[in-house]
Amino acid sequence: MEYTDVVMENFTCPKHVGEIEGANGIGQVGSPACGDIMKIFLKINDDGVIEDASFKTFGCGAAVASSSMATDMIIGKTIEEAGKFKNSDVVDALGGLPAEKIHCSVLAAEAIQAAIEDYQKKKA
């Protein structure tokens, strides 16, 4: 199994690690494949724009890299745009993932959707 340089970069120096204070959308999902867990924190402003995003991940290198890349990609997006965010977007940005590691990127996409849903639920 071989990770791309982008994956390794995002694993060794991940962006947006930790919890953001005042996060108003939090989503946590577990992978049914390997049992890993990812938690995403979003800070969404009144215009529905994601001002900040961060993550905490209990998982493999691909899962950490996916979390780092995914949070980086959705910052600045509206929740509508982020709602369309797919795991393939992360995989492409990472320069690909080994076949057995695709589910790790799914985890990132699902955690983001869960965080957006959490925000909408709280708002409603």
Binding site: M8, D36, K39, K56, F58, A63
Partner: protein, 401 residues
């Protein structure tokens, strides 16, 4: 960057003396040992030197040593060969839940062929219970196969006691000693074993060569059919160079056993102490004393094994893990599950296996860096003491299979 290799249970570098022994058999001494002319006869003679070296290393008669293409082949041969030959007597086999896949998958295959297999459980240290074994033995039991030492957690099973129980019942006893050879004394006479598997690449020999010890008179079918090699028991033109290498490696391993084992044990204990004293929320897997001299296996709470391995690799350290994420199949190690670890804990496992050339400096470097790596990964983890793992996730994960 200097590399620190701590995965000797996976494989070992070939000893330079062993390489030297092996090379002429590719060139000057290339003959086929089955040929009647000089080129063949000299090589045939050399093979007998290697066979004697292996025999001495395990206190067997050279006529009880049969070379195979790997440790896996030796396991396959022992189990399938005994099952096929003795099925009229019975179709029941006893093994354990922590065997290497070469044994486990062979047993599962035989189950599909109509054999019945009892998988003995192990305790939290990885030891089987002799009472469980006694209770599992039936009238139709034809084979007991229990590993000498476990490749993941390093636990050493009570082979001699098992051998006594099995012998008394007149059942055939096989042990996979692939991890034991070169690490602990292996004496087939003392141990009451009928069949024993070993492999070259775990003892500073080459990959793709192994051997099966078959005690004289043990009724076994062939696995590889064809020519008359290995006294008509294992067909295929002999892998002459690697057999010579394996013989030399076994000789060196038994000559230096005490020295090597003492060296590994000292460093292993240093590593275990360093990790246990400096890193919180860690457990040692396997038995505190009955373990291979070079094996250390830990579980770090709240983090995952592959991310530990990648972090170690970046700073020059090679290790392994039983985490689901590193397994390719996304199943956590069957051994860690068998000792009772929840899948979530097995997730954070790290195996470091020391070799003859590992140094104190290597161990100190590993401990220092591991402290930081574990700390960094824990800070990244969504779970901790206050926010424990949601077991539901892992339940879901195991149902998935």
């Amino acid at each position: 960057m200097k590399r620190i290799y701590l995965d000797h249970a996976a494989t070992t570098p070939v000893d330079p003396t062993v390489v030297e022994t092996m090379l002429p058999f590719f060139t000057e001494n290339f003959g086929n040992p089955s040929s009647v002319y000089t080129e063949g006869r000299t090589v045939k003679k050399s093979l007998e030197v290697a066979r004697l070296q292996i025999a001495k290393a395990i206190n067997a008669d050279p006529r009880e040593i049969y070379f195979t293409g790997s440790g896996s082949e030796a396991d396959n041969w022992a189990i399938k060969g005994i099952a096929m030959k003795n099925q009229a007597k019975g179709k029941h086999i006893i093994t354990t839940t922590i065997e290497h896949h070469a044994v486990l998958h062979t047993c599962e295959y035989l189950e599909k062929q109509g054999f019945e297999v009892t998988y003995l459980p192990v305790d939290e240290f990885g030891l089987i219970s002799l009472d469980d074994l006694k209770n599992a033995i039936r009238k139709d039991t034809i084979l007991v196969t229990i590993m000498f030492a476990n490749n993941e957690i390093g636990t050493i099973e009570p082979i001699k006691e098992i051998g006594e129980i099995v012998k008394e019942k007149g059942i055939i006893f096989h042990t996979d000693a692939v991890q034991a050879l070169g690490n602990v004394p292996v004496d087939v006479k003392d141990l009451n074993v009928d069949l024993l598997s070993i492999s070259g690449h775990k003892i500073y020999g080459p990959k793709g060569i192994g051997a099966l010890f078959i005690r004289k008179g043990v009724p076994i079918d062939n696995l590889i059919h064809g020519g008359a090699q290995e006294r008509k028991k294992r067909a295929g033109t002999e892998n002459t160079a690697e057999i010579m290498a394996f013989g030399k490696a076994a000789e060196l391993a038994s000559e230096n056993l005490e020295k090597n084992a003492a060296h590994m044990k000292e460093l292993r204990d240093l590593l275990i102490k360093g990790v246990m004293e400096n890193i919180p929320q860690v457990r040692l897997n396997g038995h505190p004393e009955k373990r291979l001299p070079g094996n250390a296996n830990f579980c770090f709470d709240y983090i995952e094994g592959e991310s530990i391995l990648l972090s170690l690799d970046i700073i020059g350290i090679a290790g392994s893990s039983g985490s689901a994420c590193t397994s390719g199949s996304l199943d956590p190690s069957h051994v860690l599950l068998a000792i009772g670890l929840p899948a979530g804990v097995a997730h954070g496992s790290l195996r470091l296996t020391i070799g003859n050339h590992t140094t104190v400096e290597d161990i100190n470097y590993v401990v220092e860096n591991l402290i930081q790596i574990i700390d960094r990964l824990r800070k990244m983890s969504p779970i901790n003491a206050e926010c424990p793992i949601d077991d539901a996730v892992f339940e879901k994960a195991s149902h998935h299979h």
